[in-house]
């Protein structure tokens, strides 16, 4: 974790116990590149990172929530809701078949969607911080409500015909690198600085490490929690916009069980579900492990059934081998 400094001389053991998951990741990449020569091609690498970006961005918000001993189950459904909202605001033309359809500049549509993400996240945060209900339940409720609302908003149908200026966010490139990768990078830097270099981040760790101590030190636990979930909502909205732009459509079925992949990325990245520990760079590694696995198995043409089995086994194995293993819970 970024929070931990290596004590005494750096030994192999200390290195492994700090960077074990990175070693596992590198090992996985080596194995995959042997089994599929194209794996390490520049094109495939951008490919993987672009694919990872959606879950990767969500998982950074989840990391914040989990560090406070929380969780966010609503991200997948929030992606669905925000994707249909941003899609109905970014269509080339009004669509009379659709319950909602408004034509407006892309910048405004994006701003509205980000705001929606922040608001939904803040609702999660308020329920858990002020309503004192477990974040599991608060975000489970949001998960159900957001998906229902998404379906209701479009009567269960996808929303296509989006402006080129909008889809460019998901399909365009700058300096030959796809925009989603740039955005992933930017969000990563933002989240990393927030978590490790600001007062807010410090308070996040304090709440997760020992909520009572945090209170006694005068930290406003409730406000901080609301901010945490609002930030997670913001990142979810960014993801939703990317996904919508990338697929040229919004759909109330989007994001199904993304929350589990996001949580898995976070935990593989060493964030402890019992709170107080975690970091963004490792969360990125966690997301990359899952992304590389999916990509590698598709590249090798592994049978769909075996893919699932292999994925489960490898995720467990990675955490099992990881020397930084968190305690249970």
């Amino acid at each position: 974790m970024s929070q931990q400094k290596i004590l005494s001389r750096p030994s192999v053991g200390a290195f492994m116990s700090k960077y074990g998951i990175v070693v596992i990741f590198v090992g996985l990449c080596i194995i995959l590149s042997i089994m599929s020569p194209v794996f390490l091609s520049m094109r495939n690498i951008t490919n993987v990172i672009r694919q990872v970006s959606i879950i990767g961005i969500v998982s950074m918000g989840v990391t914040f929530a989990i560090i406070t001993t929380g969780i966010d189950l609503s991200s997948g459904s929030m992606i669905a809701l925000i994707s249909v909202v941003v899609a109905t605001l970014s269509q080339n033309a009004m669509n009379p078949d659709q319950p909602v359809s408004i034509v407006m500049p892309i910048a405004i549509a994006v701003a509205i969607s980000l705001l929606l993400g922040i608001i939904l996240g803040a609702v999660n945060g308020t329920l858990t911080a002020f309503g004192k209900i477990p974040p599991f339940i608060a975000t489970l409720g949001m998960m159900t409500v957001a998906r229902g609302a998404a379906a209701l908003y479009t009567r269960g149908r996808p929303v296509g015909d989006l402006k080129e200026t909008f889809t460019f966010i998901g399909t365009g490139s700058i300096f030959g690198i796809p925009l989603p990768i740039w955005i992933y990078l930017a969000m990563g830097i933002l989240a990393h600085i927030l978590l490790s270099k600001t007062k807010f981040g410090r308070h996040v760790f304090a709440i997760g490490g020992n909520e009572q101590a945090a209170r006694i030190c005068g930290i406003n636990v409730e406000k901080t929690l609301v901010k945490v979930y609002a930030f997670a909502g913001f990142l979810t909205a960014v993801s939703a916009i990317l996904l919508t732009a990338r697929t040229s459509a919004g759909n109330p079925t989007y994001g199904l069980s993304y929350e589990l992949d996001a949580i898995a990325s976070t935990v593989i990245g060493g964030t402890s579900l019992s709170g107080g520990v975690g970091s963004i760079p490792f969360c990125v590694i966690g997301a990359l492990i899952i992304g590389v696995l999916n990509n590698g198995m598709d590249l090798m043409g592994v049978n769909a059934y075996w893919q699932q089995i292999a994925k489960g086994v490898i995720i467990v194995a990675a955490v099992l081998i990881d020397a930084r293993k968190q305690k249970r819970g």
């Binding site: 004590l7 020992n210 945090a214 030190c217």
Partner: protein, 503 residues
């Protein structure tokens, strides 16, 4: 307004479900004085301080601070107005560095640019603070890596660093030994004399009260009993006010008949913790174990109990070699272990007193494979009466008991396993005089009944008055074993600091 006082609390009351913890308590603290707040376990001292610090809201009562009405909704308010506190249960954030813990809630932020944390400056400031207070801890080390004693010192430093007008110290020395306590005295004197800061000092160790405090207030059962300057007190009067009757602070153990060797520990070693520890324990004997903080006493006891088994060495019980690789082996061999850290390794906070008591020995309460509620109730009730556990009912969750009463529950837990060897690690830490005296009597009675007892303690008078023999540890090694007759404070201190005994 009387400007002589920094704080006046008038008629403060506070109830919890089923308990009236404070009944109209008055407390007045003069500026620049050290004020002892005394009372038995569960008297309401911590509750009163939590009300002051904004953790609890009072049901009724008035608080005046520096001549102004004082209303706090949370610790943030208290800190802003000028009250800081070292809570009784020191609770750092384990995965942050020491410096981050000290600056928690008041982080230093770089003036320029993005308002990011100034990590370096916080470390430097912490180091400065520690130097000033004479504390020797690396500010950039993880909090989880330092001992409880050091954590307590960090908590003291943190509370002092707020520049408050009033610092509350709720049992600040419960995990400290004499050496660190002297440091604390110096810190308190500096606060008082150089900065004119008032201190509310809560402790069950009477010596401390007489060494450092200027005034004393006593509460009993949530009621204010009285307040006076320290000169007007002696130990007897103080105890009398707290307990409502006279008694000795330390029970003086009667001679018990000492029998055969029950426990024989040979060359126990666990790398980096302790080395080559050997001793014997006889039937009916109380073996005191003394040493400075971090001497490794706890680790030796944990090893004997199989919680953290030793790498090498042998343990013989009644002359037969015992293989102890986990606590259940030790329990089977008739060993019991009351640990030093109630919260970490003692209580099950969300379980009732009854469940807490029966846990190591559930087999004894099974009837046809199911728990026998009647037997549980009978046995627990017996214990409750025998060692006076103060609680409305045995169904009460243990987390709602005061610290001292929790400790009594834990002792009951192990007494009911009918052990032959009892390991008590700091058995009277945080326990009031009354209860302490009861626990000492209990130890004496158990010895008389033929039980063998190892008592790890950092309180010299306790060691001297209770032990038949004293083992002293220094840096993980047994530096000497002396008999009751030979034992003096000086000798023990010499051994504990690694000096040779001067004859």
């Amino acid at each position: 307004m009387n400007t002589e006082y920094v704080l006046e609390m008038k008629g403060v009351s506070k109830s919890f479900p089923g308990v009236k913890a404070l009944k109209g308590v008055d407390l007045a603290i003069k500026k620049g004085t050290v004020h002892a707040l005394m009372g038995e376990n569960g008297a309401g001292k911590s509750t009163l301080m939590k009300v002051l610090y904004g953790i609890h809201q009072p049901d009724e009562g008035e608080i005046i601070f520096k001549g102004e009405p004082y209303e706090v909704k949370s610790p943030i308010d208290a800190l802003t107005i000028g009250v800081s506190m070292i809570p009784q249960e020191i609770s750092p954030v384990p995965n942050l560095t020491v410096a981050s813990n000290v600056f928690l809630g008041k982080e230093i932020i770089s003036k320029r640019g993005l308002k990011l944390l100034n990590q370096k400056k916080m470390v430097i400031e912490t180091q400065k603070l520690f130097d000033e207070l004479g504390i020797d801890i690396d500010p950039s080390v993880m909090m989880s890596k330092i001992s409880i004693a050091n954590a307590q010192l960090v908590a003291i430093a943190t509370a002092v660093s707020y520049n408050a007008d009033l610092v509350v110290m709720d049992e600040p020395t419960s995990a400290l030994t004499d050496k660190e306590i002297d440091k604390l005295y110096k810190i308190i004197r500096d606060l008082k004399e150089k900065k004119n800061i008032a201190v509310i000092y809560i402790s069950h160790k009477l010596d401390e009260i007489f060494s450092i405090c200027d005034e004393v207030s006593v509460i009993r059962d949530g009621e204010f009993i009285g307040s006076d300057s320290i000169e007007n007190f002696d130990k007897e009067r103080l105890i009398n006010m707290m307990v409502g009757r006279t008694m000795d602070e330390f029970f003086h153990k009667e001679e018990a008949e000492i029998g055969d060797v029950v426990l024989d520990v040979k060359n126990l070693t666990l790398s980096k913790k302790f080395e080559d520890v050997s001793f014997t324990l006889r039937q009916g004997e109380v073996l005191g174990v003394a040493g400075l903080m971090g001497a490794g006493r706890t680790e030796v006891m944990e090893a004997i109990f199989g919680y953290r088994p030793a790498e090498s060495g042998e343990i013989f019980i009644d002359g037969i070699k015992a293989e102890i690789s986990e606590p259940s082996d030790a329990i089977r061999h008739g060993i019991a272990f009351v640990t030093e850290d109630r919260k970490q390794t003692g209580i099950f906070p969300d379980l009732s007193i009854k469940d807490n008591i029966i846990m190591p020995d559930i087999d004894a309460y099974l009837k046809n494979g199911l728990l026998n509620g009647k037997k549980i109730k009978e046995n627990c009730q017996e214990q409750r009466e025998a060692i006076a556990i103060k609680t409305p009912t045995l169904e009460q969750l243990i987390k709602n008991l005061s610290g001292g009463n929790q400790q009594k529950v834990l002792i009951s837990r192990w007494l009911l396993t009918t052990p032959e060897v009892l390991i008590l690690d700091e058995p009277t830490r945080g326990i009031d005089v009354g209860a302490k005296s009861e626990i000492h009597r209990l130890i004496g009675e158990l010895a008389k009944m033929g039980k063998s007892i190892i008592m790890v303690s950092s309180e010299m008078p306790e060691i001297l008055s209770m032990s038949d023999r004293v083992m002293v540890m220094f840096e993980g090694k047994c530096s000497g074993i002396i008999s009751r007759e030979e034992a003096t404070q000086e000798k023990i201190l010499q051994l504990a600091t690694g000096e040779k005994l001067s004859l």
